[in-house]
């Protein structure tokens, strides 16, 4: 009660005081400089720069950014655009592959197996491929989890389990990025020679790679489709790696806008990458008879080579003679 009375008195007292002061105010008050007239204004700064930055004394200079409403656009990308990109690319690719499979089925060896094989990928090449591929699959799954997990997986497993899994997924994503990056670099160096586009590729592409009907356009060691995959891996992989590291080492390379942009590139490229890799996996497995063993055992049937990489076979034969020591009879079938 005492407090209340004090408060009331204060209120009344101030009122009286103000009255007194107003009545005593001299006309020159009207000319008083308005101190905000020259002061910085939030809306103006935002309109000019779309961010407000100032000075802070702590060494963490990024905290000098007072406001960056650009986060809103990034949020829109992450929560809406990316879902559409990912959804369309991945589901679209899956749908396309299924339809294609239903129509075309597995591409068989037209002339059957010759029983003679020929080395296509050395053990080193295969190791690099599989290392990169394994990393990619884990990176893809853990990455997709960041985008779609909250919607698809969390309701199923509950928050604790989902967080636990996501935490491990994050560690995996961060640490496996290193072997993945090394793999991409090795792939780039190892197969660069065979992946320079040339005239044959134009013809190959004109004939649609022979994917429709039973056509077999000639190709060297890598046909135009494979070259495309190669360049997608090299460029896409390079991009996801570069942007990924930018995100993994926050503020070493760029400020917050750079990181937002990096995330946009990383996620978009990764989604498309995943979609393309689905096609790659398809063609390397159920899509084409005899293709998997190229990366599996490292050898392919001569007939397979004849059908899909005729020019390469010629090259190999020319280099080593028809009775190439490296061609071996397959194990008894």
């Amino acid at each position: 009660m005492v407090c209340l009375a004090r408060f009331a008195r204060l209120v009344i007292g101030t009122g009286v005081l103000l009255l007194l002061l107003v009545s005593a105010a001299s006309p020159s008050i009207a000319q008083q400089v308005n101190p905000t007239a020259s002061s910085v204004k939030e809306q103006q700064l935002l309109q000019e720069l779309n961010r407000i930055q100032g000075r802070v004394s702590i060494p963490d200079q990024r905290s000098g950014v007072l406001e960056q409403p650009a986060g809103r656009e990034w949020r829109e990308f992450r929560n809406v655009t990316l879902h559409w990109i990912g959804g369309i690319a991945i589901l679209g690719m899956l749908a396309a592959l299924i339809i294609f499979y239903l129509i075309r089925g597995t591409v068989r060896l037209q002339s059957g197996r010759s029983g003679r094989t020929l080395v296509r990928f050395s053990s080193v090449e295969r190791f690099v491929h599989w290392m990169t591929a394994t990393c990619f699959i884990i990176l893809a799954l853990s990455g997709l989890n960041v985008t779609f997990g909250r919607t698809l997986l969390l309701p199923l497993v509950g928050p604790e389990a989902f967080s636990e899994w996501s935490q491990w997924a994050k560690y995996a994503h961060n640490y496996l990025s290193f072997p993945f990056t090394i793999g991409v670099v090795l792939i780039f160096l190892m197969w660069l020679a065979g992946n320079i586009p040339n005239k044959v590729d134009v013809a190959w592409l004109k004939r649609g790679g022979g994917i429709v009907g039973h056509d077999h356009p000639p190709a060297y060691r890598f046909n135009a489709g494979q070259k495309a995959i190669y360049w997608i891996v090299v460029i896409g992989g390079g991009l996801v790696a570069a942007t990924g590291y930018e995100l993994m080492f926050p503020f070493y390379l760029s400020g917050i806008e750079g990181m937002q942009l990096a995330q946009v590139v990383h996620a978009t490229v990764a989604m498309l990458f995943v979609a393309v890799m689905l096609a790659h996996i398809y063609i390397g497995t159920i899509g084409m008879e005899g293709a998997f063993e190229a990366m599996g055992s490292g050898t392919v049937d001569v007939n397979w080579a004849k059908e899909h990489h005729s020019l390469w076979l010629e090259e190999e034969n020319a280099r080593t003679g028809a009775n190439d020591v490296r061609t071996q009879p397959t194990a008894a079938e």
Binding site: G54, R55, E67, P69, N174
Partner: protein, 198 residues
């Protein structure tokens, strides 16, 4: 129901950093984590203004929207809190936040992020109110004790206001009417999609 907000009256803020150290003191925030900071715009030039900034506890909080593990939530008071048990330290909330509020302790190698930490409006976290576990993870829970955030309570010039949005908006409006100027409620448009007419 009360809807908690912060408001920094830039015409009062003198960059004394009381809000910053009050926060450190109340929650024993470690070196390198700055739940609240004061930014000075046009430093040393005419028109210089300082603004104290922390998590604004946004309406439709962007951090919560983008969190991959859904660990950020809004309480009935409009306070945006998060669970450190669920946080995976991915940094997404930092990309989305317009105010640079989320902070990450550096853990392990190559600048990787630990669990996110940010202003809790002195309202703790998901653990039981006032529990030891809550204090250790999120700091004190003043709201549960009927107190407001210490940064605002200790503000040297009563520049930083915290409390029910309607009331602090009204306080600010009164001030502006009385003194005849006001550079606006910084961050309100971005955080709450509203401005205070002055």
């Amino acid at each position: 129901m009360a809807r908690m907000k912060f408001l920094c009256d830039a015409d009062r803020c003198i960059e004394c950093n009381a809000c910053v150290t009050a926060c450190k003191n109340e929650h024993e925030v470690p070196w390198g984590i700055n739940r609240r900071r004061v930014v000075t715009i046009n430093d040393g030039k005419p028109g210089e203004r300082s603004v104290s900034m922390a998590c604004m506890h946004c309406t439709d909080a962007p951090c919560a929207a983008v969190c991959p593990v859904n660990c950020i939530y809004t309480t009935a008071d409009g306070v945006v809190l998060h669970s450190k048990d669920l946080c995976i330290g991915c940094g997404y909330c930092f990309y989305a936040c317009p105010f640079g509020a989320p902070q990450y302790p550096k853990v392990g190698n190559f600048g990787s992020r630990g669990k996110m930490d940010k202003c809790t409006f002195c309202a703790g976290g998901p653990e039981a109110d006032g529990s030891k576990a809550e204090y250790e993870k999120y700091g004190a829970n003043r709201l549960a004790e009927g107190k407001l955030p210490l940064c605002a309570e200790m503000c040297s010039t009563k520049s930083l206001l915290a409390g029910d949005g309607e009331i602090i908006a009204q306080i600010y409006k009164e001030r502006v009417t009385k003194r005849g100027y006001g550079s606006g409620a910084w961050g309100w448009k971005t955080a709450y999609r509203e401005t205070i007419e002055s």
